[in-house]
Structures are given as structure tokens and as C-alpha cells.
């Protein structure tokens, strides 16, 4: 019993290691971009501030971020706008969508998000943009006249790990973060899944052997 408890404790610590093993990865830099850029307009209401501990192990830093937004670690990362009307008014009539599952629900998926984020250009001659509208040839809505202002500029942030914060780099990182937030347990899922499959394969081998032994005997 004691051995079992020890084994399960080992397993649990091992698993939590896997889930938080994203330090200085794209996901972690993406969280940095999300904190400083995206979250000023978008919410991620299904995730809590505390959930980010899997990417940023510094709880005091996360707590401070949540306090700045009048929340705590156990509250959802809500939209910064008090209601939809205010959000729409501030963004040319479109409410910034919630990002909880955006990597899966948006048409085109993660690759679309990444390309779209660094594809803003000046409008071609002849295209007149309404106020609060930005030209993005990749954007799938509004005939390339996007309502989201270009969120990323080269070197607008400086990453704590020293990576050069180009627009393309930030787009890549924040996309990795959005993919993580959509399915935060993917790393654990793959690890546990591999163990389960390995276990079942060994089990199948043993039972097949057992079955052959049994079926060689004549029924009496």
C-alpha cells in the first residue's frame, strides 16, 4: 500500500513536470505576447489566470497581472470591456472574440492565425479604408478590410529570454500559445497515451499466449 502511494506520488509529480515543461518555449513567449498585447482587447474567459502557471511558474508575477486587471488567480481571463456594446464601439463595430478555443474554432486554424497576424500591408491603390479598418490581404472576413488594428510591430516587446521580437516571431509564439490554451493537456495526453498503449500491447501479448495455452488443452 505504501509502495503504491509512493509510486502514484512519483507518477503525479512526473506528470505535472510534463505539463509545465514549457519554460522558454514558443508557448511561454506566446503567453508574454498575450499578456502584453492580445489581452488588452481579447478575453480568454474559459481559462483562469492561475491556469497560466503551467507556462509561467512565477505565481507572484501571475498574481500581479491578475491584480492589474482587478481579478485574482481564480478568476477567468475576462474581456477587458465591461460589455459587448463598449467592446464593439472601441473596435469599429466588431467585438474582439474570446480566444479560449480560437485555435480550433477559427476557419483555417493555427496557420491562418499566424499568417494573418503578420500580413497587414498598406492598402493597394484604389482601396479606400473606412475609419477603424485595416488592410489585411489574408483576413477571411470583411473583404480584407479588417477591424483588428495591426497588433504586432517589430521590437514592440523585449522577450525575457532574449529572443528577438520580430513580428513573425511574435506571431509564431502567440499562435503556439493559443494552440496550447485550446488543448492545455496535450503533452500529458500523449505521454499517458503512449504508456497506456504500451501496457495494453504487453497485456495483449500475454493474453494471446495464455489463450493459446488454454486452447491446446482438450475440453473434458
Amino acid at each position: 500500500m505504501k509502495r503504491l502511494a509512493l509510486l502514484s506520488a512519483l507518477l503525479i509529480t512526473g506528470l505535472s513536470d510534463v505539463t509545465s515543461a514549457h519554460a522558454d518555449t514558443a508557448e511561454q513567449r506566446g503567453l508574454f505576447v498575450f499578456q502584453h498585447v492580445c489581452s488588452s482587447c481579447h478575453g480568454m474567459s474559459q481559462a483562469h489566470y492561475g491556469d497560466m502557471a503551467a507556462l509561467n511558474p512565477s505565481l507572484p508575477a501571475l498574481e500581479e497581472w491578475s491584480k492589474q486587471r482587478h481579478a485574482d488567480l481564480n478568476s477567468p481571463i475576462a474581456s477587458p470591456y465591461p460589455n459587448e456594446a463598449v467592446g464593439k464601439a472601441a473596435n469599429g463595430g466588431d467585438f474582439p472574440p474570446d480566444l479560449s478555443h480560437i485555435a480550433r474554432t477559427i476557419k483555417g486554424g493555427p496557420s491562418y492565425i499566424e499568417t494573418m497576424l503578420h500580413s497587414y500591408t498598406a492598402p493597394p491603390p484604389g482601396v479606400v479604408l473606412a475609419p477603424h479598418t485595416y488592410y489585411n490581404p489574408v483576413a477571411l472576413t470583411h473583404h480584407h478590410r479588417f477591424k483588428m488594428r495591426p497588433p504586432l510591430q517589430d521590437h514592440m516587446l523585449s522577450y525575457p529570454d532574449g529572443t528577438e521580437a520580430t513580428t513573425a516571431q511574435m506571431a509564431h509564439d502567440v499562435t503556439a500559445f493559443l494552440v496550447w490554451s485550446d488543448d492545455a493537456h496535450k503533452a500529458s495526453r500523449t505521454l499517458i497515451g503512449s504508456c497506456v498503449i504500451a501496457y495494453l500491447l504487453i497485456m495483449l501479448g500475454l493474453i494471446l499466449w495464455f489463450k493459446r495455452l488454454i486452447w491446446q488443452r482438450k475440453p473434458h
Binding site: 479560449s100 500491447l201 489463450k211
Partner: protein, 400 residues
């Protein structure tokens, strides 16, 4: 065979003296004579394993679920993101639904092909069909619980279908949903229905097994030119055989669960339910898709409902539609063709149910329906009649 009652020191001896029927029951279960059945007979064991996994994971999910239209979606997200191992338990449950229905349809298909519905196994067949219906209701109610877009709109489609029943449809839905349409009251009822049905299903599975043990498994070789009549005791022969099949079943289960989660969870159901925004196409889970296709194949709402209901009801009549002494479709050329067509029709209907209803899919599902009813209501009784005539006059039989 050791006699458990001979020992008065161990736990079995203690139990046997207090529950004297345990020893004969144990003997009956282990020595249960099995005809030489093939691998398809192992699906029952797989289903029992799947059902146990569904029950256990479901209990843990229920502990963290809130049946409230405002909180249900967040409760699921809470399970997925923050409840320890919640994502795993929920994946076991959602993948379990797919695995259970896959095994269930194959199990029913095996019964159709090998004529397992015939005398004296009518009760096994009928209780199995009741289980099939209850599983469909349970799965439907369970799918509503996450209160995502597809949950809400799937439930809307089905309540609209029931509303098509003349005179009583609307009041019935009104009473069933608690009078305020699809809201918290309805969601709470779906939750209680789903939870309670889990246990009812478990009880009927018990009955199903009791019915089977009354008459024994059918012999797939009985109609072959060289029938094998030798039986083997269930334990250890068929325990080991079922063990292999359950292991393969669990491997597929784990593969889906851990490596192909996107096959199980529809993207549109991770968007919270929005009664003001209809999704571009409402598709049911694959296991209810054939019946959804039947609802749509008939141009009238009531007609669709009747056809879908009769598609299952006709199965209840099979033991009396097909009273031929022959069981195994392998040795009944017309039935072999007919059952193959029925299986193809069912798969076609399923494919039609998950696609948007274009003219092609509508006509394919209509053809599927004609095949389904044609085989069960015309081909099967006619063939059975002919086979019975042949059985009465063996000379004629040997010529054909």
C-alpha cells in the same frame, strides 16, 4: 471443480454458507457450454467493459457538472482545464460513447447475420433492442449536457421532430421540457434522464445476460455442411478468447482517446450554445446519423419521425418475420445478399446523416430506407417461407 463449501475458513466458504445459490451460479457461469462461436461473439464482453468505463467516468463527471444553462458550458471547461485528470475522465466518457456504439452496432449486425434473433432467443433479441433504444436516448441526452452549439441545436432539431406528432406533440414537448423551451429546466431534466438511464441500462444488461444464459449462445456452424456440435466450457476457453478481444477493443479505444481526440469532439461544440445563432449545418454524432438521415429523407416531418421509429420497430418483429429453421446468413444465399445490402444501407444512411442534405444524399438515404424495409419486410419473410417449405419436404431441398 473445487467445492467452495468444503472450505469453511476462506471468504468464499463463509459467503456460500450464507448465500447457498452462489456456488451453483458460479458453476453455471464457468461451465456454461459454448458452441464453437467466432470472434464476433466477443463483442458482448467488449460492450460490458465499455459500459463499466462509461458508468465510472460518468459518476466522476457528474460530481463536477452543473445542469444550468448559464453554467453548464463553463462546468465542462472547468473539468477539461482545472479538475485534476478531468480531461482524461471526460475523454474516456466521450470516446466511450463512440466505442460503445461501434461495438453495439457490430453486435446487432452479428445478431442479424447469424440469425441470433430466432427462437428460442427472442427474449435475448428483444431485450437487446430495448437496450439499443435506451442507449440512443441516453447518448442523445448526454450530448445535450455540455451545452455547446451542437448540443443546443441538436436538441432543438429533435424536439421539433417530436412536436410533429399530431395533437399531442406540442403539449408533450411542453411538459417534457418544463414549459420554457430549451433552458435550465430542460437541461436539468436531460441530466437526470441521462444519469438515471445509465443505471436502468445496467439493469437491463443484467436481464439480457440472464435471458442469454437461459438458452445459450447460438451455434454459427449449425447450418454448415459440417456442423460442429462439441461445446467448450466458458471458463477458461471463452474467458481467454474474450480477453484477447477486449484487449484489442481497449487498444482502439486508447488510440482514439489519446491520439485522435479531434475525431471525437466536434469543433462546433466547443462554442457555447447560442439560441440566436443557428450553425451552418447541424450534424448529429455519427452513431445517431443514420436515424437523422431517415428523419430528413421523408419530405414531411411526421413522416420522417414515423419512418425512423419503424426502422427500429421492424427489428422487434424479426423473430416472427423470419421463422425459417436456418440461422446463419452465410448459408442462406438470398439472406446473405439481403443482410449485406442492409449493412450497406445503414452505412449509407449514416454518411447521409453527417452530410448536408443535398439532392444526392437525400436520394441515397431514400434508397437506403427502401433497402432497409424491403429486406426486412419482403425478402426475409419470403425466403423464410421458402426455406420452411424446403425443410418440410427434404427431397426438394436436396435438389436445390
Amino acid at each position: 471443480m473445487t467445492q467452495p463449501s468444503s472450505s469453511n475458513t476462506n471468504a468464499t466458504g463463509w459467503l456460500t454458507r450464507r448465500l447457498p445459490f452462489l456456488a451453483p451460479l458460479h458453476r453455471h457461469m464457468t461451465q456454461f457450454p459454448m458452441p464453437p462461436v467466432n470472434g464476433w461473439w466477443g463483442l458482448g464482453a467488449c460492450l460490458i467493459v465499455a459500459l463499466c468505463l462509461m458508468g465510472l467516468s460518468g459518476l466522476f463527471l457528474a460530481l463536477n457538472y452543473t445542469p444550468d444553462s448559464q453554467q453548464a458550458f463553463s462546468a465542462i471547461e472547468e473539468i477539461q482545464r482545472r479538475v485534476p485528470s478531468g480531461w482524461l475522465i471526460r475523454s474516456i466518457h466521450t470516446t466511450g460513447a463512440t466505442m460503445l456504439f461501434a461495438a453495439l452496432y457490430l453486435h446487432v449486425g452479428r445478431g442479424l447475420w447469424y440469425g441470433s434473433y430466432k427462437a428460442p432467443r427472442e427474449l435475448v433479441w428483444l431485450s437487446g433492442l430495448v437496450l439499443l433504444l435506451l442507449f440512443m436516448i441516453t447518448a442523445f441526452a448526454g450530448y445535450v449536457l455540455p451545452w455547446g452549439q451542437m448540443s443546443y441545436w441538436g436538441a432543438t432539431v429533435i424536439t421539433h421532430a417530436v412536436e410533429a406528432i399530431p395533437a399531442i406533440g406540442k403539449p408533450l414537448i411542453n411538459v417534457l421540457l418544463g414549459g420554457e423551451g430549451l433552458g435550465t429546466i430542460a437541461l436539468h431534466r436531460f441530466f437526470v434522464l441521462h444519469f438515471a438511464l445509465g443505471f436502468i441500462v445496467l439493469a437491463i444488461v443484467g436481464l439480457h445476460v440472464v435471458f442469454l444464459h437461459g438458452v445459450g449462445s447460438s451455434n454459427p456452424t449449425a447450418d454448415s455442411p459440417q456442423p460442429v456440435t462439441q461445446t467448450r466450457p466458458f471458463s477458461p476457453y471463452y474467458i481467454s478468447k474474450d480477453g484477447v478481444l477486449v484487449c484489442v477493443f481497449l487498444l482502439i479505444y486508447a488510440g482514439l482517446l489519446f491520439f485522435l481526440p479531434d475525431w471525437i469532439e466536434k469543433t462546433s461544440n466547443i462554442i457555447p450554445a447560442n439560441p440566436l445563432k443557428t450553425p451552418s449545418d447541424i450534424t448529429p454524432e455519427w452513431y445517431l446519423a443514420p436515424f437523422y438521415a431517415m428523419l430528413r429523407a421523408v419530405p414531411s416531418r411526421l413522416g420522417g419521425l414515423i419512418v425512423a421509429a419503424f426502422s427500429v420497430l421492424v427489428l422487434f418483429a424479426l423473430p416472427w418475420l423470419d421463422r425459417s429453421p436456418r440461422h446463419n446468413a452465410t448459408y442462406r444465399p438470398t439472406i446473405r445478399l439481403g443482410m449485406t445490402l442492409v449493412f450497406i444501407a445503414f452505412i449509407t444512411l449514416g454518411a447521409a446523416g453527417v452530410h448536408s442534405p443535398t439532392t444526392l444524399w437525400l436520394w441515397l438515404s431514400r434508397v437506403g430506407l427502401i433497402v432497409w424495409f424491403g429486406v426486412f419486410l419482403i425478402l426475409l419473410p419470403l425466403t423464410a417461407q421458402r426455406e420452411r417449405r424446403l425443410a418440410r419436404s427434404p427431397q426438394e431441398g436436396s435438389q436445390s
